[in-house]
């Protein structure tokens, strides 16, 4: 499962606590320009179940999480900080960067 691999890559970089929630927010903002709740609401999906989102949206997450995981895996050992918040921030910056790149390939 792509999302599980993505989460594992975050964990392997020292990510913890709310970084997973924030990664979902960052990805959604960059890929779709809205919040998670808005995406579910406006597409008629059932909140908390990404399999109920339109196929293109599911694919966008899948591609992005796969690429973001690759990039995070490449960065293992290079992302650090003096606090958990700093480590999380660096991970989120990486996810944001990948998401911006992915967005360029999306048709919307």
């Amino acid at each position: 499962m792509v999302n599980c691999r993505f989460n594992k890559s975050i964990k392997d970089n020292g990510g913890a606590d709310d970084v997973y929630e924030q990664a979902a927010v960052t990805q959604t903002k960059e890929l779709f320009g809205c919040t998670v709740n808005d995406l579910y609401r406006e597409t008629g999906g059932k909140k908390g179940r990404r399999d109920t989102l339109p196929q293109p949206a599911q694919e966008a997450y899948m591609v992005n999480e796969s690429l973001a995981a690759n990039e995070l895996d490449r960065q293992i050992g290079t992302l650090g900080g003096e606090s958990q918040d700093e480590v999380n921030s660096q991970i989120l910056a990486s996810v944001e960067q990948t998401s911006k790149q992915t967005r360029k390939w999306l048709p919307w």
Binding site: E21, A24, V36, N37, G48
Partner: protein
């Protein structure tokens, strides 16, 4: 005299009804400056998750809705609600509520306030439904992955024994990791 009692009760909580500020031998009590920092972080996360531009001028008003800011109990309520709201707003996959958001383990900074955070989440009309969805999704995971949510399962079990808190109407049936290898 009654005013003094009232103030004391507000400030330190009523041990008979809340017990929230009573030091417990196994709990580490977060100091107020640290708690306030955590509330600010939770508030900014909530703003970001709900697509709202963080405007510091709104912060005081948002915290005030939970009571008098001179009392620690107000900050605890604010932390619980902002954290729960951030989890709700950023819930892309319901199973992450069980595997991450509410998977409280003693090494987490928010372990001390785990019950308050879950209480706040359950105030959403579909909060419980989302948790149920998350548990259904978790059934698709391997037994090892399911067991990673042990902090959540313990939270649910603990909750059932707490006065003033309803047992969650969910039944968690977990298979032991070894159960599969025997099959």
């Amino acid at each position: 005299m009654s005013n003094v009692k009232q103030l004391f009760s507000n400030r330190y909580g009523n041990p008979k009804t809340s017990g929230i500020l009573e030091p417990k031998p196994t709990d580490v009590t977060m100091k107020l400056p640290e708690l306030k920092k955590r509330v600010w972080n939770a508030w900014t996360r909530f703003n970001e998750a709900s697509g709202v531009v963080t405007q510091p001028k709104n912060y005081v008003q948002d915290v005030k809705q939970f009571g008098d800011r001179r009392y620690k109990v107000t900050w605890i309520k604010a932390l619980a609600h902002f954290s729960a709201q951030a989890s709700y707003e950023s819930c892309l996959d319901a199973y992450m509520l069980v595997l991450n958001s509410f998977n409280f383990t003693p090494d987490r900074w928010d372990y001390e306030y785990r019950h308050e955070i879950l209480d706040a989440f359950l105030t959403y009309p579909d909060g419980l439904e989302l948790i149920k969805t998350g548990l259904e999704q978790l059934l698709e995971f391997t037994p090892q992955e399911q067991n990673e949510a042990h902090g959540f399962f313990e939270l649910v079990e603990e909750r059932g024994t707490q006065p003033g808190r309803d047992r969650l109407p969910i039944r968690v049936e977990r298979k032991l990791p070894g159960a599969y290898s025997a099959a």
